[in-house]
Symmetry: C2
Subunit: 911 residues, 2 copies
């Protein structure tokens, strides 16, 4: 059986159908499907994507037999339309359009009105009785064909037309008569011949093959390549080419053209929605020269429009269209975006496809359709792109609110907030404590600003990129953030900020739109996120479908409250060091760091103990019996010290600590590569008393909360930066000793060494981050000492790829641009590299300890593709920032609903 | 069959032999062997290491049947000696000594003269007719037993003895009579009873079991644990205990004791060598109270000693001893260290073991014995510890030279050198250029000091550890280096250094002993390394045995010359960036970095091209047809820029580059984690012109050298820091384009794309470092683009373990101390972690490309255990610093000679 390269469709039915998108492209498959459904589709045929693939494989030549198949299909078209291609009396005109498997709007080329030459144009004028229409179509065809197929700049034709209009004294195209347009055609042909040194091709068959080749070639244009990369469309798919009889909506007042959505694409409301124009071509609806009218009378009245809706102007056609759209929506079981043309009172359906919609609309449509019984609840869940939820989860600037843009920067963390400008983190905390909404504005932020960032409603920085400290922390906290607003100047002395002469003083109100990267003057009206209604319904269906549990990263009781609001089932990462930076604690932290002997260190740590205990009490009270994973101190100690001589002097003055000693210690602790330095459990190997204090704070807090509330906290103590089983054993033994002592003191049966018995009294688990390649490789041995693993894929990405998140800005964009990395590996897990380490650790860890609990914490935990990976490799949970919890829940549901029984993943698909 | 716990030996033969070291320990096995050989060994028996193992496994109790077996063996001893244990008339006295499988001198406990009490002491006095001897022995026994078994501080007894001597007016122990010693015994017993509240145990059997238990217990004392860790002795081995009849060298002038080596342990010369004392106990020879005499007349005469040698004093005994040592050396096929005692004219052999020797002696002995036919050449090769060669490969301070130590620091790089102090790298280069030997003295060094370090004979720094920049680079260059000489103060303005008041000015001569970590005032006499004679012979045998090739890391023609001298078979790593720091080049490098557009960058690079080409010409000329692996630019660009405002101003003044622009660029390029930053091939992805210039310099240099010498350089171009196959493909394509262009220009057939054809014209290979975990994991894909892999295990260790070499000083020592790392992973490859990544990459790389050439470059390439690993996993070569090449050659030979057919390694042995 020879390969079929050409699939016909028309009133008599179709060779293909909607299931054949891979072969016919989306447009071709849907045209065939509509034809099969008996809808009035202008007849045509589709050259398959297989032709495209062969076209490129064979050095831009066509497979044998294609010419004959096209000629055959063309004959069918002539029969169906009663017109003849190239015929001077009753010419058949064609449209030639691309149509890939996935929609790539505007990325590839189209040629309309194909088949016109001097002879057929005259025939068209005669047949339609409209010379102006015929020659306007002809000159449009020359212009479009020259541009798309011959690569001639349209400016050449604009110039010729402009010269003629000047000569005649015309201001608008509409002033040109049929004669004028015929003259313009002549001018165009002359201009083209001069430009390319060859005449315009007059043979319609030459025109057809020129256009087909141009459309296939457009698959590889730069626009299309970029679009494919951005949308993960494989190059190997290729495009189909659809050749279709032209129909015209611009042959008079009984003609029209329009686009319609079967439901409202903005709100999702179940009402027919769209626009049309009488006596117009499709491009006129889009071009905005004339204002289209609503389709329905109800819509027209709601808008107060004086014209006629299609329902009123052409009630018969409207009835046909209504029947068609209802048929299509029911048939496709999704909201459709349709294009139609009315040629002399006759309705033609030109296209149908799943309609684009806002996330809000998508939610409503999916939930409504499930409740209408049109789709299942699982299908409804799968209809929502998890990543798209992001826009629903933050307050946003109200639609249509006026924006006075002060400065623009990078859209580093979504959401919007209004507040008073402050320039100092301590001040931010103080103002927030007395109930003010504040926006923290800094040159850049550092770990010492954490408390200020937490206190602020939003953060703005003058320096730093999408992965700067401010950006990463703000996203983690769910604070809107604009970074790298380079036009912004801060005068710390005057306590003002200035942008090109506009001055904003401390305490002035601004609005931050993190999604748009804008800082706006004054208080702009906001919309709060609604987590109820369709959102709540769909999320509950998603929760029913998913296997992965979803936790949140939360460093404070406030974060934990937010986490619960977004549906987190526990805290997967509580970073204790963020608790160290608050002004009333940092002095004790520094005293501890400056201590030369263990006793002095222990004394300083004793001062921190009540703070830590209070932190954990707050956290445990919010989380109740849900698991809370507390990561013990991780960053290198120098992060807690001032760095410059001046800063040291300031701190010395404020605290009485010797400035020289402070500077000396800061210098001694300074590191060339702090990411790979004296941090994590290494601190506790050298100074065991640090983790001992933290463990004690945890056990005492748990005891107190249990005594007060009767609820037993589910404690998971996480040891960071482990590379050997010995480290974990060393620290685990010390935690067990502290637990035993705390148990005695508190009069409860504090944790056993195994720690996993949640019977009476305080139980706890000890586990580790798997965040370095060696830890992944030695996971079998480490598992023997661990009750759980949590994959710290941020650091695992940094170490496996030798890629510092802080420093990768200089080249990462170029890597993604060149396709060396498919995506930023800090955003979407590098499954082929880092992912294999995770898989190794899962296999070895569970091999050594069957019930080992496995999770992932870090930015990847809220990214859909990474969540799908976690599901596939069998993790128990993911943990992400509170605002991403719904995304993770939905992504986990997708992964569960889409996973095939053999669990085969796509690991091999990225190099 | 019940387990035999006790093995007897004596005049009638022995239960065990020398092959049973694991069970009987070294000492016990050799005593048994000597007994079997018919040598006069005092009879005794050995409690096996199995007893020790069970002792610990069973909570410090003995296995059933042991008591009975010991009693039985004791009876045999009584029969053999004709004495009786605990007998008042003719008492048998025993020594109880540890004896592990590997020698652990002084680490465990010994009890002598066991069996003495009031009754047997009287009997001993009567039997020997020497009351003084008997009671002196008795009091020594009480003191030793109390210390070793009862844990009583010997000071208690010293005090009692001191009081008695004061009372009697005695100055020396020798003044005490037998009566006095008997009185001392009484005082000792009183002191002991007062101290521990219980009398001294008088029952000899109680004494015996007390001593045996103490010796077994000493296996777990802190000294022994530390020693085992330092010498890689597993705890599970346990120790044996040897119980042996005492013989006495101190019963009169017909008695003696001594130690002997069958060959000279310092030089290896084939002559009997040792010392003895008349009328003395073994400990007296060691204690240094009396000066021992040489054994042979020849030695005595050579020393001009007036006393008598053993040969002269006791010719009969000497004859017996000569026969015994010759028998032992021939039997053991190695130089022996023997201990003997002469009791009343009768020779007893107390111990034999392989004698410790200097590396120089070890070489001579191994080569001599092979030439004597005593051992094979392979055995000779295996007799030399590869690591020990280090001390032969550098000039050293002449033995016995007077040392005026100015300051002590860390022994960062071995060897010694004399030179004039300079404090500046440029000055070091200038002075060296005019023929001065200089020592570069710096607070610390940075990459900008490379040229000064290269020009210097040795390097001294006030700051930095064993893995500081100075230490690592100095070892790589083979320059002696003392780091972290913290007492050293440098006054840059005065151009002096000061150590506790002693001032050394620029130009003053000092001597550096890198092996000892000493800086000495003035010029001290030196010995040059001799690479001829036995060294050359043994290395040629090693070369015949090994499979791994050995290359050197060499960054300059001088390094390459040194590499060849040490037997390198190629250059495995030529770091091109070291060539960028020379003063006449750095300006162009900075201009390139400051360039804002590609054209300006290309123009700056064009200035560097002649320098690079000249570098490669020099390198190719030295190396001839041997392979040279050239690594393209690797470090981040900020390493080439000044960092502080002041430095920028200096550079600006010197070069005319704008200071502000320089500082701005330096700040923009500064990185939080430069190890994980914008470096390696990432530079070439963003700025392809850098590698293009380097490739051009390589091809032009090769063409020129080939034209001049007729020898075709074997070029291997190495791309650093690759994590994806795409990076290598991108860069490989650009190198191929440069090669094609260079080939045309030079009129030669420069490399094909495959690059592996070494036919006519220039051929080249392109490969990559595997130095990041992801690269190891994706080695299969990367191999498709690579002609070779070179494992960069320095960076692979940093990334796999998350361990910055520059920053690990703060905790690495503690990790090794706690046994969390068996060894510093930068010194000896972490086979269980980093090693598995290497194995994965080997398997996947060769799986994708069977003939893929595999090597390792970096510090591990010269470390014997790591070299053995490389052999085992099937690498083709290792590359290390020139001075370590002989170590690698010998280690590779060991690996080849020791490898078992199944190739099973010890990967699983370290966690």
């Amino acid at each position: 059986m020879t390969t079929q390269f050409v699939y016909a469709f028309g009133p008599a039915g179709a060779d293909g159908d909607a299931s054949m998108k891979a072969l016919l492209g989306g447009k071709g498959a849907n045209l065939a499907e509509m034809a099969k459904l008996g809808l009035p589709v202008p007849p045509g045929f589709t050259l398959t994507t297989e032709v495209c693939t062969r076209f490129y494989a064979q050095g831009r030549t066509y497979p044998e037999g294609l010419k004959e198949a096209v000629a055959e299909a063309l004959k069918g078209l002539e029969r169906a339309t009663g017109k003849a291609f190239g015929d001077g009396a009753n010419p058949l005109l064609l449209s030639v359009r691309s149509g890939a498997r996935a929609s790539m709007p505007g990325m590839m080329d189209t040629v309309l009105n194909l088949g016109l030459n001097d002879e057929t144009a005259a025939g068209l004028a005669a047949a339609t009785g409209d010379k102006r229409f015929a020659y306007d179509s002809y000159r449009r065809f020359i212009q479009m064909y020259s541009h798309v197929v011959l690569g001639v700049d349209p400016g050449v034709f604009e110039d010729a037309l402009g010269a003629l209009k000047d000569e005649r004294g015309f201001a608008y195209d509409t002033e040109l008569s049929g004669e004028d347009w015929a003259e313009v055609v002549g001018l165009y042909k002359t201009a083209l011949a001069r430009k390319q040194g060859a005449p315009f091709p007059t043979d319609p068959m030459d025109q057809l093959w020129g256009a087909v080749s141009a459309v296939f070639a457009s698959w590889m244009n730069d626009r299309a390549k970029v679009y494919r990369r951005l949308h993960d469309i494989p190059e190997s798919w290729g495009t189909a080419v659809n050749v279709q009889a032209m129909v015209f909506g611009n042959l008079g007042e009984d003609c029209a053209t329009g686009v319609a959505f079967t439901r409202d694409p903005s709100t999702g409301a179940k009402r027919f929605f769209g626009e049309y124009l009488i006596n117009a071509q499709g491009e006129d609806v889009v071009a905005g020269i004339r204002t289209p009218k609503p389709l329905t009378r109800a819509a027209r009245e709601a808008m107060g429009d004086k014209g006629l809706s299609l329902e009123e102007a052409m009630p018969g056609v409207f009835g046909e269209l209504t029947a068609a759209y209802q048929k299509l929506e029911t048939h496709y079981r999704d909201m459709q975006d349709v294009e139609f043309t009315v040629e002399r009172g006759r309705l033609f359906m030109l296209q149908t496809r799943a309609g684009k919609r806002t996330t809000r609309a998508a939610l409503k449509i999916a939930v409504d359709m499930a409740e209408e019984g049109l789709i299942s609840r699982d299908e409804a869940v799968l209809r929502i792109d998890p990543a798209s939820l992001d826009q629903l989860l933050h307050p946003t600037i109200a639609a249509g609110a006026a924006r006075d843009i002060l400065v623009t920067g990078l859209p580093a963390s979504p959401g919007a907030a209004v507040g008073k400008v402050v320039f100092d983190s301590d001040e931010a905390e103080q103002w927030a404590a007395r109930g003010e909404a504040v926006i923290l504005v800094r040159e850049e932020t550092s770990p010492e600003d954490i408390h200020g960032m937490h206190a602020a409603k939003a953060i703005v920085t003058a320096r730093g990129g999408m992965t700067s400290h401010a950006a990463v922390v703000a996203r983690g906290m769910g604070r809107p953030c604009v970074c790298g607003a380079t036009d912004l100047r801060i005068d710390r002395a005057a306590e003002t900020l200035t942008v090109r002469g506009r001055v904003v003083a401390k305490g002035d109100v601004i609005t931050v739109d993190g999604a748009a990267g804008q800082v706006l003057l004054g208080a702009v009206e906001m919309s709060e996120p609604a987590l109820t209604g369709e959102f709540a319904a769909l999320m509950s269906w998603a929760d029913g479908a998913r296997k992965l549990k979803v936790r949140a990263n939360a460093d404070s009781p406030e974060d934990a409250v937010s986490a619960l609001k977004f549906g987190a089932e526990g805290v997967g990462l509580c970073r204790t060091e963020h608790m160290f930076f608050a002004p009333e604690r940092i002095a004790a932290v520094r005293e501890m760091i400056l201590a030369e002997r263990a006793e002095a260190r222990v004394a300083a740590l004793a001062k921190l103990l009540p703070f830590q205990r209070a932190d954990f009490i707050g956290m445990f009270k919010v989380m109740g019996a849900r698991p809370v994973t507390i990561r013990l101190l991780d960053p290198p100690l120098h992060e807690f010290l001032p760095h410059t001589e001046a800063e040291c002097a300031d701190v010395a003055a404020a605290t009485g600590i010797d400035a020289k000693a402070l500077l000396a210690r800061a210098r001694a602790l300074a590191e060339v590569n702090p990411m790979l330095g004296f941090r994590g459990c290494r601190l506790a190997i050298v100074y065991p008393e640090i983790y001992e204090m933290q463990a004690r704070a945890i056990f005492e807090a748990a005891g107190e909360v249990q005594a007060e509330t009767g609820v037993v906290p589910a404690i998971e103590i996480m040891v960071p930066f482990v590379v050997t089983a010995g480290e974990l054993a060393f620290i685990r033994a010390r935690i067990a000793a502290v637990a035993a002592a705390a148990g005695t003191e508190a009069g409860t049966e504090a944790g056993t060494d195994a720690g996993t018995d949640a019977g009476t009294g305080l139980a706890y688990q000890v586990g580790t981050m798997i965040e370095l390649p060696r830890a992944a490789l030695r996971a079998g041995e480490i598992a023997a000492e661990a009750d759980f693993f949590s994959f710290g894929t941020n650091d695992l990405t940094q170490s496996a790829l030798g890629l510092s998140r802080d420093d990768s800005g200089a080249f990462l964009a170029r890597y993604v641009e060149l396709g060396l990395f498919a995506k930023d590996p800090f955003v979407s897990l590098d499954q082929a590299g880092v992912g294999e380490l995770v898989e190794i650790a899962v296999a070895r860890g569970r091999g050594a300890k069957a019930g080992l609990k496995l999770g992932l914490c870090g930015e990847h935990g809220g990214e859909p593709a990474s969540v799908a990976f976690c599901h596939r490799v069998g993790l128990d949970y993911v943990s992400c920032s509170p605002f991403r919890v719904p995304i993770a829940r939905l992504a986990a549901a997708h992964a569960a609903l889409q996973s095939t029984p053999d669990g085969q993943g796509s690991l091999a698909s990225t190099a």
